[in-house]
């Protein structure tokens, strides 16, 4: 089976500005990949090319084996834009009916009820969108993206308008999608959120991928902290492999060992290191 999303040598130029410099990225079936990067790094451009909203200058992009932007590619994906608006005159149910028709979904009433329940909007089914809070609209946007049971989802800042409770709902939703085998490319500024839910991250800076891998693979050991009678001792530069020897040494010295913590660089530190002076 083809990867859910693939780009090879993706280039995008807007006049004299090059937004993407030959990006290669894969999202496998059922994989949840976080796309990180500072403002202007090219994240949204990458997502928009994948959705067929923006045309690439060079390179190939495919969604579930079909050329990005083709009807086949669009039929197998869902998309939640960073900046979106739904018609305020429509109710949540009417919006989903419209997208069911456009996506040629045969899910009917059952699909709509399930999606609204998934995003916690069951009670707002008949409510007009113009009366909903921004957070509710964002959750409705997620439900809209899931219409037609897509195999792949582009989510561009899906939690930017959500409160902590709403973010937790979205995290739960992403976990649920993982169990259903839906692949996701999650574009987000919230590093903690990405770290919690993503299988892999790709960091984009100035239009190029500067780091990519599982958060645990990208992390580097920062040292080991050991709690003993006299307090906490820090062993800088040590890692997991050195822990048994360190503990054995302390025990041999008749120290009481109460706890051991392996310190690693956080995703935030990895990110800041990767993007350098482009951060913030």
């Amino acid at each position: 089976m083809a990867a859910a999303f693939t780009t090879r040598g993706l280039v995008k130029r807007y006049g004299p500005v090059t937004a993407l410099h030959g990006v290669d990225l894969d999202v496998e079936e059922g994989e949840l990949v976080g796309l990180l990067g500072p403002n202007g790094a090219g994240k949204s451009t990458l997502v928009k090319i994948g959705c067929g909203l923006v045309r690439a200058t060079a390179g190939q992009t495919a969604v579930c084996g079909a050329r990005a932007g083709s009807p086949q590619a669009r039929a197998s994906m869902g998309y939640l834009a960073e900046f979106f608006r739904f018609p305020g005159w429509a109710t949540a149910d009417e919006l989903l009916i419209l997208h069911q028709r456009l996506a040629r979904s045969r899910g009917g009433d059952g699909e709509r009820a399930e999606l609204l329940e998934l995003v916690g909007l069951t009670d707002a089914r008949s409510r007009r969108i113009e009366t909903m809070s921004k957070g509710m609209q964002q959750r409705l946007g997620l439900a809209q993206a899931l219409v037609g049971t897509p195999r792949f989802l582009f989510l561009d800042e899906p939690t930017s308008a959500l409160d902590p409770g709403g973010r937790r709902t979205v995290r739960g939703l992403l976990e649920e999608l993982r169990t259903r085998g839906v692949a996701v490319l999650l574009n987000s500024h919230l590093l903690s959120e990405v770290e919690l839910v993503c299988d892999r991250v790709a960091i984009l800076s100035r239009g190029s991928i500067v780091a990519e891998g599982r958060p645990s693979e990208l992390a580097r050991p920062r040292g080991v902290e050991i709690d003993v009678d006299g307090g906490t001792r820090l062993y800088e530069g040590m890692g997991r492999d050195e822990v048994p020897a360190l503990v054995a040494e302390l025990v041999a010295a008749e120290e009481q060992v109460y706890g051991v913590r392996i310190l690693e660089t956080t995703l935030e530190e990895i990110y800041l290191e990767a993007v350098g002076d482009q951060a913030g």
């Binding site: 928009k48 959705c51 909203l53 045309r55 994906m77 979106f84 018609p87 028709r101 996506a103 946007g141």
Partner: protein, 289 residues
């Protein structure tokens, strides 16, 4: 193209829910009320101060025809204007305007495709505005007939031509919406519409002065902007059977620029809409959103 009915349904529902139809209904009622008042007054004045002469007088003017045709011609202008306003406002933000507001992106990533969305939007606007001008035209005709007992020489043709003029304006507005923001496109569409009307006015002046140059300018402009040619042809058709001094008197009024456009008008109008629509589809397909 299976998605076109879905887009048409969505567009109609949008107009209904945003109370576009309600506003149009109220203002059209006001327009028709004013028209009835004006027509009634015109017929009464003309009746009391008869402009005609003895029936055997070759210079006699048929008062009823002159008044009825003049008033009905003015109503056609009003109908064209109201329909143009509706066509422009229903379509001016279809691409760039909706994209800037974030309304367009969730729709175009669906499998229906951009051309289907554009064709659906065009069909909805042309349908609504076409139906609107036909109904207003029919209402004005009824009013004129009821008050003055006058009916135009041609009834169906001018109504269909007004409806076709709406399709031309909707196509131009859709093309503009690919490149321009809503405000800029609205201004552009109304300026183009105004240019067409000015060309008609030049034709009217040219007719009165006997200036071939002005009449040529008006005719050329009406072919470049065929909504104007359709309107002028429809206007000419309502007094197609007039003759004598009445016909001459009519050319001094709003009928001065009225020109029967001939057999090429319909093929040209259809080709024009297809060309403008095709250009809009191609430009939209290449546009980054």
């Amino acid at each position: 193209m299976r998605g076109i009915p879905i887009v048409i349904g969505y567009s109609l529902k949008e107009s209904l829910r945003r109370r576009v139809f309600l506003v149009v209904l109220i203002l059209t009622a006001a327009f028709l009320g004013l028209y009835a008042l004006g027509t009634n007054e015109a017929f009464q004045v003309v009746e009391s101060r008869s402009l005609g002469g003895p029936a055997d007088d070759p210079f006699a003017v048929d008062d009823r025809e002159l008044t009825g045709a003049t008033m009905f011609g003015l109503s056609m202008f009003g109908t064209l204007f109201l329909g143009a306003v509706l066509a422009a406002f229903l379509t001016l933000g279809t691409v760039r305007g909706d994209a800037e507001r974030g309304l367009l992106q969730p729709l175009v990533v669906r499998p229906i495709g951009r051309s289907t969305l554009l064709v659906g939007r065009f069909a909805a606007a042309a349908l609504v505005c076409g139906l609107y001008v036909v109904l207003v035209h029919a209402a004005a005709l009824l009013i004129t007939w009821q008050i003055g007992g006058w009916i135009p020489d041609r009834i169906v043709g001018p109504a269909v031509q007004l409806a076709a003029a709406m399709a031309v304006i909707a196509a131009l507005s859709l093309l503009g919406s690919v490149f321009l923001s809503s405000t800029a496109n609205g201004i552009a569409v109304f300026m183009v519409f105004g240019a067409g009307l000015v060309a008609g006015l030049l034709g009217q002046i040219g007719e009165a002065l006997g200036s071939e140059t002005l009449m040529d300018v008006a005719e050329t402009a009406s072919w470049i902007l065929p909504f104007e040619a359709l309107y002028q042809d429809g206007l000419a058709a309502i007094t197609a059977d007039s003759s004598g001094f009445t016909e001459f008197a009519l050319t001094l009024g709003p009928f001065g620029g009225a020109q029967a456009a001939g057999v090429f008008l319909w093929p040209w109008a259809l080709a024009y809409v297809a060309l403008i629509g095709g250009a809009a589809v191609v430009a939209f397909a290449r546009k980054d959103l």
